[in-house]
C-alpha cells in the first residue's frame, strides 16, 4: 500500500499545502488515538473523573485481594470435616466440595455403574464437535452419529439390552442438569423451527394449532408445567403403565423451550426479505428445499443470539426439577448443607454451583459470538 503511494511524490505549494492530487496518506495525529490518549480522556478527563477512577481502582483492588485470598490463598483443600478446614485456614473450605464431588456429579447413580455416565459425557463431547465445527472432515458421517447420540446416551444411562437397569430416580447432580439441558437443547431447536414455520403456514388449521401451542406454552410458568408433568400427566396414561417421571419432565422442558424457540425463529424468518422466497420459488425449489437451503440458514443466523439466549435460560431452568423432588446439582448442594460435620459452608456450595452454571453458559455465549462472526458474509 505504502509502496504504491511513495511513487506519488507530494508536491508542496508555497504556503505549505499539497498540490491537488498529490496529498500523501498521513498517520492520524497522536493526540487522538492510542491507549495513553484514551486513558487521559476517559479516566482522567476532569477532577471528578480522576477521583472516581481512583475510587473504583481502590474498590476493585480490595475486592479482588479479598476474593483471591478467600478462594485460593487462605483456602483449605483437604480435610474430613469443617473443623479440619478451620484448623489449617480461615478461607474457603473446598475440602467439602472435594469430599462430595462424586455426589455432585453423579447424584445417586449406583457407584459400580458410574463409568456409564462418564462414557456418555465423553460421547456427548464427541457428538457436539461435528455440530459446532462446520469445516471438520467427514462431517456428514459424524453428524449421523450426533443424531444417534441421544439414543446411545439413553441406553447407556438407563440400561437394558445387556446393561444393568438404573432407575431414573437415581439420576441426580450435575448429570441430571446435563441430561435435561442437552435433551431440551437438542429437541427444542427442531421443534421450534417446525412451530415457527407452521405459524406462517398457508393452511389455517396448521397455523391455528401452532399459534395456540406457542401461546399456551408461553403463558404458563415452567414450574406449573413441571407440576403438571409430575401429577396430571399420569391421568392420561392407562392405569398400571408407568410413564417415567424423568421422561415427563424432559418432555415438558423441551416443549417449554420450543415455544420460546419458535418465537425467536419467527423473528428471524420475518427478517428474510420476500425476494429470497421469490427467487427460490422461481428457481423451482420445493417448499422444504427452499426452507432448508435458502430461508432457514439465513433466518437461523439472524436468530443466533435469541436461540442461544433460550438455550442458556433452559439450561439454568434445569434446577427447577427440585420442585418435584429431584436433586440436581443445586439440590444436592442444598441437601448436603444439612450434614453436621460440614455445617455453615453454604457460601462454598453456592459458589461451586454458580461457577458450574457460569462456565457452561459463558461458553455457549462465546461460541455463539464466534459463530456469528464466522457466518458474517458481508451483508
Amino acid at each position: 500500500m505504502t509502496l504504491g503511494k511513495e511513487e506519488k511524490t507530494p508536491a508542496v505549494t508555497e504556503d505549505g499545502g499539497y498540490l491537488p492530487g498529490t496529498h500523501p496518506d498521513l498517520p492520524p495525529p497522536s493526540s487522538v488515538h492510542g491507549p495513553v490518549h484514551w486513558i487521559k480522556v476517559n479516566l482522567f478527563g476532569s477532577v471528578v473523573d480522576t477521583a472516581l477512577t481512583l475510587l473504583a481502582v481502590y474498590f476493585l483492588y480490595s475486592a479482588l485481594t479479598f476474593l483471591v485470598g478467600w478462594m485460593f490463598i487462605n483456602a483449605a483443600f483437604t480435610g474430613e470435616s469443617r473443623n479440619d478446614c478451620r484448623a489449617v485456614a480461615d478461607g474457603a473450605c473446598w475440602a467439602f466440595i472435594g469430599n462430595r464431588l462424586s455426589l455432585f456429579i453423579y447424584g445417586f447413580y449406583p457407584e459400580p455403574e458410574r463409568w456409564r455416565v462418564d462414557l456418555s459425557f465423553v460421547l456427548l463431547i464427541l457428538a457436539i464437535v461435528p455440530v459446532l465445527y462446520e469445516d471438520m472432515p467427514q462431517r456428514g458421517k459424524a453428524l449421523t452419529y450426533s443424531c444417534l447420540y441421544p439414543l446411545i446416551a439413553a441406553w447407556l444411562l438407563v440400561g437394558g439390552f445387556g446393561l444393568e437397569k438404573v432407575s431414573t430416580d437415581q439420576f441426580g447432580g450435575l448429570m441430571l442438569n446435563v441430561v435435561i439441558g442437552v435433551t431440551g437443547i437438542a429437541f427444542s431447536l427442531p421443534i421450534g423451527i417446525v412451530l415457527a414455520l407452521g405459524r406462517q403456514s398457508q393452511l389455517p388449521i396448521v397455523r391455528i394449532l401452532c399459534v395456540s401451542f406457542i401461546e399456551i406454552i408461553r403463558g404458563v410458568p415452567l414450574i406449573t408445567l413441571l407440576f403438571v408433568a409430575a401429577v396430571m400427566l399420569s391421568y392420561f396414561v392407562p392405569p398400571g403403565t408407568n410413564f417415567d417421571l424423568l421422561v415427563r419432565m424432559l418432555i415438558m422442558v423441551t416443549l417449554f423451550a420450543s415455544g420460546y424457540m419458535a418465537e425467536v425463529i419467527r423473528g428471524g424468518l420475518q427478517a428474510i426479505p420476500n425476494g429470497q422466497y421469490e427467487a427460490a420459488d422461481a428457481m423451482g425449489l420445493k417448499y422444504w428445499q427452499s426452507m432448508r437451503l435458502v430461508v432457514l440458514p439465513q433466518a437461523l443466523k439472524i436468530s443466533i443470539p435469541g436461540i442461544v439466549n433460550t438455550f442458556i435460560a433452559l439450561y439454568k431452568d434445569t434446577t427447577l426439577v427440585i420442585v418435584i423432588g429431584r436433586l440436581d446439582i443445586l439440590g444436592i448442594g442444598n441437601s448436603s448443607l444439612a450434614d453436621t460435620k460440614w455445617q455453615g459452608l453454604s457460601t462454598e456450595v453456592y459458589i461451586f454451583v454458580a461457577l458450574f452454571f457460569f462456565f457452561s453458559c459463558f461458553s455457549m455465549s462465546r461460541y455463539s459470538l464466534w459463530l456469528e462472526k464466522k457466518l458474517h458474509t458481508g451483508h
Binding site: 426479505p273 425476494g275 429470497q276 420459488d281 423451482g284 437451503l293 458474509t377 451483508h379
Partner: protein, 264 residues
C-alpha cells in the same frame, strides 16, 4: 450491441413460424389484489425467440404481469399458457413452467449466505439433479459469459450492484430456461454499472433467447426489442415494433409517457 443483421435473421424466423411456436399465450387475463383490479383483460402472444420490452408508468402493473407468467402472482381470470402448459393451481404445471422460465429481479435477490458459485449451482443440483461437479462447470461457463468468473468464491455482499445483477442473470441461465423475464434489472444500479448489465442482456438477446424485459432503458428497447408494449393502469394500451412505437405513438397516454421519459 445487437447488430441489425442478427435481428433481421430472428425476425425472419419469427415471420416464418406461423403461430405454432407461440411460447407464451395470455388470453383475457385479469388479476386483482383484494378489491384492486391490477390487470385488466390482458391479451398477449409471444413467439419463441421474440424479445419484448414492457414500459409504462409506476404502478401500471408491469411487474405484476411478468410475475404472473411464472406464478409468483396468481391470476384470477383468463388463461396463461407457457410453452403449451396452462398455469392452473396444479402444482405440477407450476413446477414445469418454472423450469422453463427464468426471472431477474430489480434487487437481484441473490442468496447472501451462499457464495456466487453456490448461488449458481443451487438450482441445477436440487431442481435438475445435476451432479455437483457438472453443475459447477456449468456455473463457471455462465460466469465467464457474464464476465465475472474471478468472483466465483466471493459472497454476493462483496460484489458491486452491477456484478450482483450479472450473477443473478447467470443464476437464471444455469437453469437453462427457454424464457427469461427481467423486472427492471438496471433500475437499482448506479449509472456507471447499467451498461455492463445491459451489455450482458444484449449478448443474451443475440443467442436467440425469448426475453420479456420491463425497463425504462429506451435505448435498449430501440436496439434489442422486436416489440414494445406500453401499459397504463393495468391495461396494455399500445404495442408496436420499436421504430413505430417511439416515432409514431398512437395513443395520447403513450405520447405523454414518452415525452416524460425522454425529457430527462
Amino acid at each position: 450491441m445487437a447488430d441489425t443483421e442478427s435481428r433481421t435473421e430472428t425476425d425472419a424466423q419469427i415471420e416464418s413460424s406461423k403461430g405454432e411456436d407461440d411460447i407464451i399465450k395470455i388470453v383475457a387475463m385479469h388479476k386483482w389484489f383484494g378489491e384492486f383490479h391490477v390487470l385488466k383483460d390482458i391479451n398477449l402472444t409471444i413467439k419463441a425467440q421474440e424479445r419484448i420490452v414492457v414500459c409504462g408508468p409506476s404502478g401500471s402493473g408491469k411487474s405484476t404481469l411478468i410475475r404472473c407468467i411464472n406464478r409468483l402472482e396468481e391470476h384470477q381470470k383468463g388463461q396463461i399458457i407457457v410453452d403449451g402448459i396452462e398455469l392452473t393451481n396444479d402444482l405440477k404445471n407450476i413446477d414445469l413452467i418454472r423450469r422453463e422460465v427464468g426471472i431477474v429481479f430489480q434487487h437481484f435477490n441473490l442468496f447472501p449466505h451462499l457464495t456466487v458459485l453456490e448461488n449458481l449451482t443451487l438450482g441445477p443440483i436440487w431442481v435438475r439433479n445435476t451432479p455437483k461437479k457438472e453443475a459447477e462447470e456449468l456455473a463457471m461457463k455462465y460466469l465467464v459469459r457474464v464476465k465475472i468468473p474471478e468472483q466465483a468464491a466471493k459472497f454476493p455482499g462483496q460484489l458491486s450492484g452491477g456484478q450482483q445483477q450479472r450473477v443473478a442473470i447467470a443464476r437464471s441461465l444455469c437453469m437453462n430456461p427457454k424464457i427469461m423475464l427481467f423486472d427492471e434489472p438496471t433500475s437499482a444500479l448506479d449509472p456507471e454499472m447499467i451498461k455492463e448489465v445491459l451489455d450482458v442482456m444484449i449478448e443474451l438477446a443475440e443467442t436467440g433467447m425469448t426475453m420479456i424485459v420491463v425497463t425504462h432503458e429506451m435505448g435498449f428497447a430501440k436496439t434489442v426489442a422486436h416489440r414494445v408494449i406500453f401499459m397504463d393502469e393495468g391495461e396494455i394500451i399500445e404495442q408496436n415494433e420499436p421504430h413505430e412505437f417511439f416515432n409514431n405513438p398512437r395513443h395520447d397516454r403513450t405520447k405523454m409517457f414518452l415525452s416524460q421519459i425522454l425529457a430527462h
